[in-house]
Symmetry: C2
Subunit: 657 residues, 2 copies
Amino acid sequence: MVKRTLPNQGEGPMKRHQVIFQPAGRRGEIPEGTTVLEASRLLGVGIESLCGSGKSCGKCLVRLESGSFERYGITSRPAHLTPFTAEEAKFIGEEKRAEGFRLACAAAVCGNLILFVPEESRSADQIVRKEACEREISLNPAVRLFSVTLTPPGLADPCGDYERLAAALAARFGLPERPGIDHAALAALPVALRKGNWSVTTAIWMEREILAVFPGQVDDTFGLAVDIGTTTVAGYLCSLTTGKIVAGGSLMNPQVAYGEDVISRITYAMEQADGLEKLRGTIVGGLNRLIRTVTAEAGLTPGHILDLAVVGNTAMHHLFLGINPRPLGLSPFTPAVHRGLDLKARDLGLDVHPGAYVHVLPIEAGFVGADNVGVLIAEEPYKRDEMVLIIDVGTNGEMILGNREKLLCASCATGPALEGAHIRFGMRAAPGAIERVVIDPQTREVSFKIIGQEGWRPDVPITGVRGICGSGIIDAVAQLFRAGVIDRSGRFRTDIAEPRLRVIDGNPEFVIAWPEETSLNGAVTISQQDVRNVQLAKGALYTGAKLLMKKRGIDRIDRVILAGAFGSYIDKTNALILGMFPDCDPNCVSSVGNAAGDGARIALLNRDKRLEAETAAGQVECLELTLMGEFQDEFLASMHIPHMEDAFPHYPLPEAP
Amino acid sequence: MVKRTLPNQGEGPMKRHQVIFQPAGRRGEIPEGTTVLEASRLLGVGIESLCGSGKSCGKCLVRLESGSFERYGITSRPAHLTPFTAEEAKFIGEEKRAEGFRLACAAAVCGNLILFVPEESRSADQIVRKEACEREISLNPAVRLFSVTLTPPGLADPCGDYERLAAALAARFGLPERPGIDHAALAALPVALRKGNWSVTTAIWMEREILAVFPGQVDDTFGLAVDIGTTTVAGYLCSLTTGKIVAGGSLMNPQVAYGEDVISRITYAMEQADGLEKLRGTIVGGLNRLIRTVTAEAGLTPGHILDLAVVGNTAMHHLFLGINPRPLGLSPFTPAVHRGLDLKARDLGLDVHPGAYVHVLPIEAGFVGADNVGVLIAEEPYKRDEMVLIIDVGTNGEMILGNREKLLCASCATGPALEGAHIRFGMRAAPGAIERVVIDPQTREVSFKIIGQEGWRPDVPITGVRGICGSGIIDAVAQLFRAGVIDRSGRFRTDIAEPRLRVIDGNPEFVIAWPEETSLNGAVTISQQDVRNVQLAKGALYTGAKLLMKKRGIDRIDRVILAGAFGSYIDKTNALILGMFPDCDPNCVSSVGNAAGDGARIALLNRDKRLEAETAAGQVECLELTLMGEFQDEFLASMHIPHMEDAFPHYPLPEAP
């Protein structure tokens, strides 16, 4: 894990104070000046922070417990935190303020403290939804094994070990006369040759570098395909001789602690002195944990991994490689590099075989990254005749449109709404999150199901609702529209009589889960602002698709492919109802799961596909949508549900009630 | 420096004892079971150990002080050391034993101890004698600087930084379209480009890999040539744009602590569990100190070094690279690799610029290493018409014989006598060592001079003699022969009346320095055994030259070149008197200093010479002398002074007195 240094204020010795987090009961000595959020991390308490200490998401609410606490031996006072700020006032009304609520990212420690972390501020472990597809992949890995038996040296033939091995490999397999040899492999060579009694198995990369030499006969070697998502990191451990996945695993990208989205992390890397190194260390630490987990699951060790292929969006790519991502956050959004890279895993801090390379797939543009290239080589739109739209709905929305003649791509600023952020009761896909919603068009009765519990409300009683995750939000808004609770412009129709539709302080909201169904001490609702945020997100996707179609000169899409962990969980009917993309035969809308991760696996197992990725990435034309003249008009029209003007012959609008 | 772990005996908590070394006064808590020698290293006390804890050199004598020492608060007893061993009895007679003498490498700590380290056991800092020659080197370094100014990116041209830089370098300098780029350089690229306002200077290796990118205009870059000798490590910091040496430095190879000669170190690496890693870490630590020293001297930092070229004998080469040297110590003496290597300096643990490569020169055979290849490309015998014999007299004696038509080489087991080991009063070239000796053929009066003091005895009074170093030993034996004190077979002529020639316990010896001239509490003498050891060494060299001449089919040498730190200090007249090599016109005998180090510098400054080294190393024919049938007879004849049969027309034998 990343090493954390405690901040120090001023010149003198660091003043420290007792800080206790409830209900977890974690306590420790925290240096003066540390924010409550940073203190929570130091003490291992999980507090949500979607904006990454940006004081802009309001998710990190904590409550100060004031008074003397004899059992803890401390007194906790409001004055033991830095003064209440204007930023906090945006999220904390007078009443809450009086109760002691603060933003953990804004308030810093000045004295002994007891803080309470309310249920809704606690971060939960996300349910990881990146599963590998079953795909036929033709096997031609970068790393292959070659076994040889050498004539032992003698006084008449004292030729060196490397030269002896190279000559045998050249004679037996037609490999180059003087292949490269990794330093670690060279250092191990004399012992391996003698231990194997002059029979060894070599692992050779791209037929040009000896990465490892094993005594005797070795029959299998392994590689790891990695998809570094903004939220989720997935790894597929594969045999390089059979191509089979021998173990898979995933974890939440631990950089989430420094900001939920790409922009927060770029900001963190830019603004903190050691921000880049912290983010890099964090993801590398996470990958090393993943490596240990998947190898252990397969009965192997990290040292068995002799090759890796990595995809990720441009920001994840840069942070993983320790490249300053600042230019990605500023116009013209230039990446440090486009081409695919072959780097030694050890140079990146990965604990695998010391000789192993990491192949990092190429990136297309500043915001169309290697993950999208992974989707490209997995779905191969450049080999198709039909006009295909591929939408990779992750924390960012990236799309590819076209066929063998020409491919266009773009990144859509969907915002984080589709993943539960900027939604009042939004949360990640974690236990307690509503993931499916159906609203009866006649009775407007709500059925839903949550992650971590079988069955639907009202068929089964549900009491543990903690919020709504992305797929639930799309369902809810689409179903609200279908049931006539919101109109095409997204406005709540407050004229209808419906007990679930209520107006609080002039703001309409629709109750999805009643207070007794939640663990939040209140109802889970969809507010007007939530609907607006979903409209912004779906409008961005629709606009992207529409502008790509215009640029491509087509008015009809033959096929829509929803990729990405999140894409796979979207209900395609609700997506069509909502107008997330232009009209398409529902039978030709499909989900392909984590195509980016599949792309990494394909590149791991077939080196020709690495070249194909390079070519494809170079040929795709990337559009900067916001620079197109028609963007604003298209975006406004796309905000309507399903669209202001466009026809949806495959899914006619419901009758206005 | 290498990390030292304290040994632990048994399962329980480690027992520790107070150990005090006098007269240095160093004290510390030492774990039970640690040898006195290892304890001295832990406490930073220098004790000579020529055999590397082999219990075979007898140099590491210490005296146990027994009794109660109130001022130290401890009692020191003989029983606080492990029992006296048979190996110690070889070096310590009854009388000395009674005085408390022990071998530091044999006795281990069992309780509190006070130990006295006598003057003759103290290791002294060696005078380092590896100076670079002034040579004309044509400049064509592997790393060159290329400065370019780029068109900044814009929304219409958002191409990535690497691709932008590569295109500009290709257009301006004809470099490859897609050069490699070091990971560290890539990580630094975005910041460098923007800091330099799109003007940068790149350091490019072999026109194929970008190692570094500096903002703005940079006009000079630096490289380090390194000669890792068994005893001395020399470094030459050179400008890669002018070729000039900007600083030079050297240090004793810190591996000396683990054994004076190559075989002791190979043994140490083989027999200790972490021996190889200790030896590797030790030399790398030493090189990093050297790097800091030479860069500071030139007003630079280690990060300014962007290229290195390294030579060293095969064992030093292997230990530096962390390659198990075991096969080098066993027939058929196979090295792990012959070819030259280009490795990242960071992979070897060297603290220089993170992108820098180390070029390690090729090696010829198991015991003819990269240092000899350095001599080859410095002296270029493969371009000469005359028949040249190059003798590199280091801790091992390596020689090359031939001309442009054919070159032969061999390694001679000279033993360490020529460097002062296995000589009773032998020592390294350090202050107090006799380095020059002249004996008047008539009066047999001895003149000598010591390192660290101007002038000759008896012209100036000298009192600080500590021993004799290699050049002094050669002088002494040659002069004893010239003065008729020893005969052609090397026997002392005890029939002559000479106060300096005395017989102790039946063993004749010749006094070079009287007791009052030394700091040793006794005279410095040359014994019969010392003469024998010099004969063995010079005989080995002569035999090597003779057998190479036979193999080459010649009976006359046109030129003798003495290379190596030690070679440069040999008095060539005394070398001819002694018969260190076959007859040659004294005007054609010359010293070239550290030709191996010069070879490293040449390879650093001219990449074509790296290829030349590869070709030359591959073409030289290496002979294993001891396998040649005539070896024994030749060796016996060569032991005579100057030789049993050979004529020396250029230097006739002195008349028998």
